[in-house]
Symmetry: C2
Subunit: 620 residues, 2 copies
């Protein structure tokens, strides 16, 4: 029943041999890896305007120069990443590049930044997608948190089914969005040239803060930092090169350039249109929605624009759903993350990583009440930190490999590193009090966590490895050891009988122990014992405070001290197992507690207590 | 560290021999068992007035006749319970009396009603106590849920420390309350006679509903049913006879009569005073607080009254904290409740029962937002149901024992049963839609639960008893059985070496098994295996879908089928145990899952799989 539901939802399990076929062609890869970058045109312009409008309507004119600078930066970063894709054809995310070329610390810092950003990508994209919906259908505004969680559930489902099916699932909306958005720009500019598109009326609800702040360089830089969210997601392809069809680097590089060109055109276009028709940002309707209504009217084309924007934004979260698990699996293989994250699930996806990113993003959406703007300042720090580290790493890479034209390549990557490094400083400086500090606290914590995980795995390997230990079994076949066997009992029943039988078959030194909590019950067990098992000693332990575990542990220690060379006492636990789950509540959990205590107690160095469970199953 | 905190909070563990000394003298017993009954004068009059005021201010005149009828009923019930205390000197709550005399079903119904009422007592008393506080300090009104939860925490703490200390802890407030309340009545009536106390001004905030409803018999009955909450808690002493000093019945009976007389005087007195000064119930101030301010002014005596009322109400919950665990422990011994509830904790109190009533009451307070009036209709049904069953049971009891004057005694208890039975019908009829239906649904559910628990324990006893089974161990000492031993491995390390050593010492038929999830790792294990343990077979299981558990279970079934007379395969699990809790997150939980699956799977009738844990402890 459980299995068939699972199959219905997620599809049949896929055998490991199917793995190599799960690759994406360029058309699908653009959809899967570019939705994040492309969809940011839905909110990047608005973020610039939101900062500028605090100075006054006239300051909005600065949006176009700022957008041009960002587009120039995009060209530098894209070129830089194009080289990364070719330098690391097996997949070169910021973590790998920084780790290999700059060392462990920069690598882990990049990884921490990337992981935070993947989670933020999901949260920001989905909340912005929900805004696209509520711009067109205002009555859904109060449900924005619920809509966001629903979207996360749907994307998680798609991703758990497997990466190729994700490509199919997400390709159509991406291309519909591209089509509708480019149509918007074309129609908008044609109507502008034809003079049939005039500035829209100023909003009926002017912003409270409009016109309050003076125009300072700091404010312009903050507008620039906000607009830089347009560039998020550019690195996604370089992380996922290995998911492309062969030749991977070739295909990934081409896809990256196509994506960057599309992104540049759309971002510049929408910012220019916003400027031309003098859009002012308001709380209840997005800038893109305002432009859409001015250009298309409120008809079907406008609704198509909003629907496509919502879909691409919600699907943009998919970039993170592809990137987060892939990165954690690489880190897990390097020993920096729990090794469960390295396991492919039965649909050949990293199911644990997908679940982790879904949970964290859902938490963020609930905590921030589904508001995009509150999340944006947290977003940019990680993005530009990983950009900078990745490109600085590439500079070292070319210096080490010294392949043809390595000097040119190093200069290009160096330019990228310097440019994004400067942006990083701007972002930290201008957004510090708006939330950027959270990320600066979180990154060292994550790095410390990665180190602790790695340290544990290394320490474990060292401790458990056979190495110099004698691998000889040291036993004489068929001649039993003289184990000291102890059986704790509470009454004499079929479970205890089964345990006694097993005990006597593995050792001649068997002792039963009963803790005297109920004197009547103890006396009755003793009576039966003398009648049936007089040859096996029965020890009665006093328990003035009615605890069972404490006297038993004391007794075991005593037995352990006798003949230490014979090893720790072996404990055999008779255990009555109820047939239904709720019936467990009707039994003292003493056996369960005892098992846990015995498992976690280390009595002696290099020796551990063997515990044997002899269950007895109840019917119905 | 953990233990010392526990001791600091709860006191040192008490040895079982100390149990008999933990008895209460009459002075302390009155405080522990009567606070519920006495404290109900703080809200019973108000509940009557709240119903009558819906007709109009003139209808409030009916409060006095209603109070007189209730006091008459109290006299009948108290006399009836006085007989119960003597008929059942070892403690005769409604459950025991109904169970012994009327049969299993009435007994369980009474038990269900009592348990519900204990929980409601805690919730009602505490919310009313919080109202006494917020009447005097209105700024605390928004914190009423938090204050209620704090009070529950404090009472739980007191009770976990032990019943004698509870008596000491609670005696002072009870007697202070008695003193202040009787002073209020005395001063009030003296000032009335002296003519210095005049009617208080009508409230500035008249009730929305005032004067809206017509005066009907149904409404008068509802006012009566509401006022009957004054009688809750009268039965507490009969449940707790065994906690009194010897002679138990004598002392308990006297305490009961003292309590009933005090309760009658206080309830009639406060109702008469309310009538004389024409108090009208309002939402933000209790009736007792209004009277207190009229009689005492707003000075220190008024504050003392409110403080004492709050304290006694909050401590009234203590009756339930004494009664609930005592009843569940009796039921647990009879097999109707989980047997953990029968265990005395290390401070000689039924710690599990105390925890249960605390949790349930806290839940109710949160669910009902700390409002007393919403809880009252739920309250009366259970109280009068258990009154009726208990007294009907006593009639049967006298018929069976036929001790001296048994006819008189039967008539008295019969009168009590009929009177409370009629009240029960009135309560159900008049409060059905106000929440009484919830209790009528809950009681059958609880009874079904008690029966299911009992059925499970009976079925278990029958299945595990040695009875006709041969108790012969059937083993030849020191000659090992030919167990089929299977060791699942994932790598070759010190843990697996320890497991192998143990396996070879108990059987000559040992097989190691590895599930091939990572081909490279499997190959390396195989290589080492041939070098070191070639004499022990190593089976490699394919796992196309990368699951570890499923192939292992399949293999075990296959081994079980071979030579069935040699029994099920014994599984030995090597287990690496990390030193810190968080490190568990870094390990695949496969061993844990496997243990759980093996424990709960029943392979064959009357035979269960033995599982042996061989732990290996990591350092630091």
């Amino acid at each position: 029943m459980q299995i068939s539901w699972r199959r219905l939802l997620l599809g049949n399990p896929l055998p490991s041999e199917a793995y190599v076929h799960q690759r994406l062609n360029k058309v699908k890869a653009l959809a899967v890896f570019s939705s994040d970058a492309l969809s940011s045109v839905a909110y990047a312009t608005e973020e610039i305007l939101l900062v500028l409008v605090t100075v006054g309507l006239a300051a909005l004119a600065l949006s176009m120069p700022i957008a041009l600078v960002i587009t120039g930066l995009l060209a530098i970063v894209a070129t830089s990443y194009y080289q990364t894709v070719h330098g690391y054809p097996s997949g070169g995310g910021a973590y790998i590049v920084a780790h290999e070329n700059l060392g462990v610390w920069p690598g882990l810092i990049a990884a921490a930044a990337l992981l935070i950003d993947y989670v933020l990508t999901v949260a920001v994209s989905i909340t912005a997608g929900v805004v696209a919906v509520t711009s067109a259908v205002p009555m859904l505004f109060p449900l924005r948190v619920e809509l966001g969680l629903l979207a996360i559930a749907l994307i998680t489902w798609g991703n758990l089914r497997g990466v190729r099916e994700s490509g199919t699932l997400f390709a159509v909306p991406t291309y519909v969005f591209l089509g509708v958005f480019l149509t918007l720009l074309a129609v908008g500019f044609i109507r502008l040239l034809a003079g049939s598109l005039s500035p829209i009326a100023p909003p009926t609800l002017p912003m409270d803060t409009a016109g309050a702040a003076p125009l300072t360089l700091f404010l312009v830089l903050r507008a620039f930092a906000s607009g830089c969210t347009a560039m998020t997601g550019v690195e996604a392809i370089s992380n996922g090169v290995s998911a492309f069809e062969k030749p991977e680097a070739e295909n990934a590089g081409k896809t990256l350039i196509i994506m960057a060109v599309l992104l540049g055109i759309m971002f510049l276009g929408i910012t220019a249109l916003a400027r031309a028709i003098q859009v002012v940002p308001v709380e209840y309707e997005s800038v893109v929605s305002q432009i859409g209504r001015a250009v298309f009217g409120s008809g079907p084309l406008y609704l198509a624009l909003q629907a496509a924007t919502a879909l691409i934004l919600v699907l943009a979260a998919n970039t993170a759903f592809a990137g987060f698990p892939r990165l954690t699996s690489i880190m897990a293989r390097d020993g920096y993350a729990p090794r469960q994250l390295a396991n492919l699930g039965d649909r050949l996806v990293f199911s644990n990583g997908i679940g982790a990113v879904a949970l964290l993003a859902a938490l963020l959406i609930v905590l921030f009440g589904g508001r995009t703007h509150s999340l944006i300042p947290l977003y940019a720090v990680g993005v530009f930190l990983s950009f900078t580290l990745s490109q600085a790493g590439m500079v070292r890479h070319w210096h080490k490999t010294r392949e043809g034209h390595w000097r040119t390549k190093a200069v290009i990557n160096g330019l990228g590193a310097v440019a994004t490094g400067l942006v990083l400083l701007v972002v930290i400086e201008s957004k510090f009090t708006h939330g950027a500090w959270i990320i600066l606290v979180l990154i060292p914590l994550l790095v410390a966590m990665f180190r602790a995980v790695k340290h544990h795995y290394l320490a474990m390997r060292e401790q458990v490895t056979l190495g110099t230990v004698s691998t000889h079994l040291g036993v004489h076949w068929g001649v039993p050891q003289q184990y000291k066997v102890v059986i704790p009992l509470s009454s004499l029943n079929r479970a205890s009988l089964a345990a006694l039988r097993f005990a006597c078959s593995i050792s001649q030194d068997v002792t039963a122990v009963i803790v005297d909590v109920e004197p009547n019950s103890t006396a009755s067990v003793q009576e039966d014992w003398w009648a049936w098992y007089a040859e096996i000693p029965l020890v009665v332990l006093k328990s003035p405070y009615r605890s069972v575990i404490t006297p038993l542990l004391g007794y075991l220690e005593e037995v352990d001290r006798r003949d230490p060379e014979r090893g720790l006492a072996v404990v055999i636990l008779p255990e009555i197992v109820p047939a239904r789950w709720w019936q467990h509540l009707l039994h003292n959990q003493t056996t369960f507690q005892l098992k846990a205590v015995l498992l976690f107690r280390q009595e002696r160095r290099d020796e551990a207590r063997i515990v044997i469970n002899v269950p007895y199953h109840l019917r119905g």
